[in-house]
């Protein structure tokens, strides 16, 4: 709608300027028809040259901004995935050792805090720059995050410190689900901003 209005306004003002210039040249300066037409052709050439340089510049700047925004959002998504992957790896190490130290528990808890902050930032960014479709994808992503958090810190890990097969398998499953949602979002960001 705005685009069409802008087009119509541009054509209208172009016609007004063209007619005014013709009238001024013909009647105010009493030039001949030939001279007037030559001046109008020159003016037309100048405007065409200006637009030929200006429009690609504006489009290029617009595309660069969109690319930068997309890269930023993808970077935030990757950071979040990287933190969750760190948690998964710490947990796998604990499972291999068959016990969890207080230090491990603290590392996992603080990593979840970091992931929470990253998710918060991603949410804010998506709200302002991500587009409606990507923002809608945040809800299942958040649910997957809470599921993963519950699978890791809601069970025996923070009880007797035992990382048994059941806990490890459950968190592994939730991790891959979470990863799927993140990758879906990255793909949607690529599509939305390309």
């Amino acid at each position: 709608m705005y685009r069409w209005s802008a087009w119509i306004l541009c054509i209208f003002f172009g016609c007004v300027i063209g007619v005014s210039l013709t009238v001024i040249l013909l009647f105010r300066f009493s030039l001949s028809i030939d001279s007037t037409l030559s001046i109008l052709s020159l003016a037309q050439l100048a405007v065409t040259l200006f637009l030929a340089f200006y429009i690609p510049l504006v489009l290029d700047r617009y595309r660069n901004t969109r690319n930068q925004l997309r890269e930023l959002l993808i970077e935030h998504s990757k950071n979040l995935l990287s933190t969750i992957t760190d948690i998964k790896e710490t947990l796998t190490t604990c499972a291999t050792k068959r016990n969890t130290s207080d230090e491990d528990k603290m590392i996992i808890k603080t990593k979840f805090m970091t992931a929470g902050y990253q998710l918060q930032i991603l949410e804010q960014r998506l709200k302002s720059d991500g587009g409606e479709k990507c923002f809608e994808m945040l809800k299942p992503l958040k649910e997957a995050y809470f599921d993963y958090d519950r699978a890791v810190t809601g069970g025996s890990l923070y009880g007797n410190g035992n990382v048994d097969w059941q806990l490890w398998r459950q968190q592994e499953l939730k991790y891959w689900q979470f990863q799927c949602y993140i990758l879906d979002m990255v793909q949607a960001l690529h599509k939305n901003h390309s």
């Binding site: 519950r150 923070y158 009880g159």
Partner: protein, 116 residues
């Protein structure tokens, strides 16, 4: 659940009054558990706020994070005991640091309260 401008009958600042490193679900699991927090702080002050017809504010900032088992053992258990509506009516949570944590506790209260 977060309305910091309201008047509060009771208040708990977790990091100051309880610990800056909340632990697991049950007292048997180790120190500073969700159960301990529920018994010593959350339930008594919630009851006081409820009797006064007022609100209890729980300030969650300044800690090293909350495990899901702690959240379930404290806020989840409170919702199981009193129901989601009563808890929502008298409890307010505050965290300027971590909005995701507020959502996590909200979900826990919702899920556990439905089991009443």
């Amino acid at each position: 659940m977060t309305v910091p401008s309201e008047e509060f009958a009771q208040q708990i600042i977790v990091a100051k009054e309880f610990t800056d490193a909340p632990g697991a679900r049950y007292t048997a699991d180790g120190p500073k558990s969700g159960e301990e927090f529920l018994d010593d702080f959350l339930r008594p002050r919630f009851l006081l706020a409820k009797e006064a017809g007022g609100l209890l504010l729980v300030d969650l900032d300044g800690t090293w994070g909350y495990a899901s088992s702690f959240v379930s053992g404290s806020f989840g258990a409170l919702a199981r005991e009193f129901g989601t509506d009563t808890v929502r009516k008298h409890l307010r949570l505050k965290s300027h640091e971590n909005q995701i944590l507020l959502e996590k506790i909200d979900i826990e209260i919702d899920n556990e309260g439905r089991r009443v």
